[in-house]
Symmetry: C2
Subunit: 332 residues, 2 copies
């Protein structure tokens, strides 16, 4: 493992790929890797990219990667694709991309599919981000498919979260996606050459305007207690709406500018430490829960777990009492 970690820090792609496979398949490996690599992380700009499949997200991620490569920045790409009967196809996505970006040693691409549960996926993604960070990729693009918790989790991992939209989605939809708009640092209207793009841009701007609340607006989902250091109100990032047409590269340089401006904003702002602490607290909460569940597997026999669950399902025992039994068995 030591040798592998050294090779990862030297940026050797095969070592990186091997370590990621280890980390995906074992919580212990993730712990070992992150513990060892953590002091060497914190250099990368982690950029989350999310939005509906039809919005042209993968093309946009490709174009962003190429744009950062033109700036001589090595780029790591993590495509998070929770396995689903309706989505799937992580490998195919990789292959399409591989063809386009193949042969560029400054690009590392990895698709991750859900292994059993979403918590595990978030865990593994957090570890892979750290691996690529420690391996020396200054730009890490994390792409998520679909809606829901995965997006929110990634927003807490990414420094800059792009939410991609496309014209031709009704007004209803934009309301529907309110929860996703809240995690955006930058809104991208892709396929901006299509009819209706202006209307989409205008309604997004309107929504942002309506939603503009106090200070922490775009990270409003975090529990109030998390912001132990108050964010400073006059240093609020105003979420821009950036049009792009990824298929022909239009708007991409401007988008890169916006992304870099957000990065400079984060770093120069006195909010930096406060935001890093929010991120750290989130990660620690996730790890603590994972650890609790692991401890549970170790300390409480499957038979007892099964007996308690059955008793609760049969209304013979209430869930609080059952949980008290479980909790008593945990000896940290």
């Amino acid at each position: 493992m030591d040798d592998l970690l050294r090779q990862v820090r030297d940026g050797r792609p095969r070592a990186i790929a091997r370590l990621i496979s280890l980390v995906e398949n074992s919580e212990t490996a993730a712990e070992t890797a992150v513990t060892a690599l953590y002091p060497h992380t914190g250099q990368a700009h982690v950029i989350g990219i999310t939005g509906p499949p039809g919005a042209g997200k993968s093309t946009l991620v490709n174009e962003l990667a190429k744009a950062f490569r033109r700036l001589d920045q090595p780029v790591g790409i993590i495509a998070v694709d929770p396995s689903s009967p309706f989505t799937g196809g992580a490998l195919l996505g990789d292959r399409v991309r591989m063809r386009d970006l193949a042969g560029d040693r400054g690009i590392f691409i990895r698709s991750m599919a859900s292994r059993g549960n979403l918590g595990g996926l978030a865990e593994a993604t957090a570890a892979v981000i750290k691996i690529l960070d420690a391996a020396g990729y200054p730009v890490i693009l994390v792409e998520t498919v679909g809606a829901g918790q995965a997006e929110v989790d990634i927003a807490t991992m990414a420094h800059t979260t792009l939410v991609i939209e496309a014209p031709g989605m009704g007004d209803d939809i934009q309301t529907f996606k309110a929860g996703i708009l809240e995690i955006a640092d930058v809104l991208v209207v892709n396929k901006a050459d299509r009819p209706g793009a202006d209307r989409t841009i205008k309604s997004l701007e309107l929504m942002l305007h309506l939603g503009a609340g106090p200070a922490v607006g775009h990270h409003g989902r975090l529990p109030a207690e998390a912001a132990s250091e108050p964010l400073i109100a006059d240093e609020v990032w105003s979420v821009p709406v950036q049009p792009t047409t990824a298929v022909n590269g239009e708007g991409i340089p401007e988008l890169v500018d916006v992304i870099q401006r957000h990065w400079r904003y984060l770093q120069s702002s006195s909010n930096w430490l406060a935001k890093e602490k929010i991120r750290s607290r989130r990660e620690m909460e996730r790890l603590l829960q994972a650890r609790l569940l692991r401890q549970l597997r170790v300390s409480v026999s499957l038979d007892l777990q099964e007996a308690l669950i059955t008793a609760v399902a049969a209304r013979e025992m209430d869930p609080y009492t059952a949980v008290a039994h479980l909790f008593a068995k945990l000896s940290p």
Copy 2:
């Protein structure tokens, strides 16, 4: 408290409202109430209703409530509305509904808004469902706004989950909502009198067809290990697509039929205990995590928490080591 709980079991609306307020504001009250009422629960059919705001969900919930009332069934309605700069308005929703359903003592309506964090909201909602169940409401409608974790959490609480769509949302959208389709036991296309309704119904049916995988298709998100008792393959519920026009009541009796058919399917099926156990396990996991966080607040000083978070944010300590410190402080 004992007196209050007795009045709740007698179905007194004012006592129910008071207990819900207590439960919303205190985890201890939730524990006391659920522990006491749990043996009297398990009678109600819990129906989750979710979908985008534009789909006419509230009107549909109203019409459903009236339809169940015509069958002489008391109905409890819980509207879950995570506070958001973009949504809000739980109270207004109540008032609109109140006007329509006012004076019917067989209907109890409660709106719940997020108090700080989504975990707390799921917790409180689970407790309120049990209160209404123990108070004797045989039908409980739980309405959620927006997309994301709230829907998934509710799907694990509800016996029957309706996902409401409306015509006029592009094809992209339907792909986008794949994650939400997965939680549906019944798909409702509301505003079915609008142009494009047929197309929406057809594309939903196509998606359901494409997504039809092995046995547990529509609950595919649950971790494999949760299904400790395997679901039986030849007793699979085939998700129907039901058109409605809630504003004039069209399709509502048919929807009620479908809902009741799903309820009978659940009860007659040998999957019943397996599904109850999945629900119980989920609830216990949620309670265990809540308990862990509470224990953390009690056992670890804020100063130490703050010091660890700061050390992680400053890369002076890795998150696994920090979590090990926290975990060691927990004495269950």
